[in-house]
């Protein structure tokens, strides 16, 4: 009998302790971020969808050499790429700018992608494509607040994206 009583009183006390904790939390400052007005400050390391890395000297060209490593490794086949040799008249220009290639080698045109599409609907953000790229031509974007209404909006043309980025940078 006495044991039950003591247990009950202890139990009721524990309820008061609980209420005290919620009261303390009630008074403590908020820990959330009011999203549209504020954003999370630190997004380091966040993996958005992949994007192409521009060449250091030419922000309109990607580093990609169209080796299609990334296309092959992707578990969900969400990268589609078409390669083509650059047209004759463009080749000398590229040659003059590209400094990695020894100048002695004659315009053996390097293939480059003419179409580089990512179907983000299927991407699992595993990072295999980024890691398997021999020229480090891929990286993760930091597009956190990505939203859309249709599937089509998540099929990204990464080459066009690269051009846009370069244009923005120039302005």
């Amino acid at each position: 009998m006495i044991k039950t009583l003591r247990e009950t009183i202890g139990g009721l006390w524990s309820l008061l302790v609980g209420m005290k904790i919620t009261a303390i939390n009630f008074k403590s400052p908020e820990i959330t971020v009011h999203y549209p007005r504020q954003v999370v400050p630190d997004l380091e390391g966040f993996r958005g969808h992949i994007e192409l890395v521009p060449k250091e000297d030419d922000p309109f060209k990607s580093k990609c050499t169209a080796c299609s490593n990334c296309v092959r490794i992707c578990p969900t086949s969400c990268i589609s790429m078409k390669a083509a040799k650059p047209k004759k008249k463009e080749a000398p220009a590229a040659e003059a700018e590209g400094s990695q290639e020894p100048a002695a080698k004659k315009p053996k045109a390097k293939p480059e992608p003419v179409l580089f599409e990512l179907n983000f609907n299927y991407c699992s953000l595993c990072g295999l494509c980024v890691q398997s790229c021999p020229t480090n031509a891929l990286r993760f974007s930091d597009d956190v607040y990505l939203a859309g209404f249709t599937r089509q909006e998540f099929v990204f043309d990464l080459l066009a994206r690269l051009q846009n980025q370069a244009q923005k940078k120039e302005q």
Binding site: A23, N25, F26, E30, I31, T32
Partner: protein
């Protein structure tokens, strides 16, 4: 024409105007309580709560209300649609009647009747019927279980509730709510909570159970019975249950305030403001409790009632009687 109006007894006009006032009061209270509940929950969780509609989300309950009004009215297949839609109305109507007898201030009461307390206790009992019908006609097993829970819960908790009320009634010798409130002094130590602390605690627990508030919200325990008796209700049906629930909360807090906290009495200028302040303090404690505790189990709930509350209430009544007799 004027004769015709004069022919109506003044009492009726008072009741009519009072009724409109009650409707406004209940609606306003519900809006305010929904807002408070969500805001307090937010602060306890250390988040802002409603924030987007209006400054600090103050219009959120209205937006919610509009949403509920705009929803499709939907009756499940196989449900008895007549009873199904009657249930929310049965639920809300008695709640409105209860306010008639409540003395909000020294001069603000719709009817001052000698049986005010009995009237309120009787009418709140009708709610059980509404929930029972709702659960029974929904053609949903969860609703049925919720209704079954609600009936046993309400029936069980009515007993200690009445007994604790009796101990206050014996002290004052009246069922008249106005007299009970007026009989207490202005200062907290003159309130009945000081004379009847045990009765206050018991009454408060019973009130939580009667109004289906956490930790006794078993009839609508969402993790067990999805939503209990109102699983199948959408739109206005749900809104009316919701409104009724908050109305009963307010009625219950009013009674707590009158019986134990001196009603409209208060130091410096007794009046409506003191009454409302006390009612809201009780309501805030109820909200605070809800966001702190887990839910009790069904058999535990009944055990608490039969094994603890009823014996303690009887004990309290006996002691009160003994003290009065001496």
């Amino acid at each position: 024409m004027i004769e015709a109006i004069e022919a109506i007894p003044a009492q009726f006009i008072v009741i009519f105007v009072g009724f409109l006032a009650i409707l406004a009061f209940v609606g306003l209270n519900a809006v305010l309580l929904v807002y408070l509940e969500r805001k307090i929950a937010g602060f306890i969780h250390r988040r802002p709560g409603p924030y987007e509609v209006g400054p600090h989300g103050i219009l959120q309950p209205i937006a919610d209300g509009l949403k509920l009004v705009g929803k499709q009215i939907f009756t499940p297949t196989g449900a008895d649609s007549y009873l199904f839609w009657l249930a929310p109305m049965i639920s809300i109507a008695p709640a409105l009647v209860c306010f008639i007898a409540i003395p909000f201030g020294p001069h603000l009461q719709i009817i001052n009747t000698n049986v005010g307390l009995i009237l309120i206790l009787a009418f709140t009992g009708i709610n059980v019927l509404a929930l029972c019908i709702a659960g029974w006609t929904s053609q949903n097993k969860y609703s049925l279980l919720g209704a079954a829970r609600d009936i046993s819960q309400s029936v069980a908790y009515e007993i200690p509730l009445l007994i604790t009320v009796l101990s206050v009634v014996f002290m004052t010798g009246t069922f008249n709510l106005f007299d009970i409130a007026a009989g207490q002094g202005a200062w907290p130590w003159q309130w009945y909570i000081v004379y009847q602390p045990l009765a206050f605690v018991l009454f408060f627990i019973c009130v939580l159970a009667e109004t289906n508030r956490a930790p006794f919200d078993l009839p609508e325990a969402e993790s067990e019975l999805t939503a209990g008796f109102h699983t199948e209700y959408s739109g206005m049906g749900f809104a009316m249950f919701f409104l009724a629930e908050y109305a009963y909360m307010v009625v219950a807090s009013c009674i707590v305030a009158i019986l134990f906290l001196g009603g409209f009495q208060g130091p410096i200028a007794p009046g409506v403001w003191w009454f409302l302040a006390k009612v809201y303090i009780v309501l805030l404690v109820m909200i605070w409790i809800r966001w702190t505790f887990p839910r009790v189990r069904f058999d535990q709930l009944l055990n608490i009632c039969w094994k603890w509350l009823i014996p303690l209430a009887v004990l309290n009544l006996l002691i009160t009687l003994a003290v009065i007799a001496l």
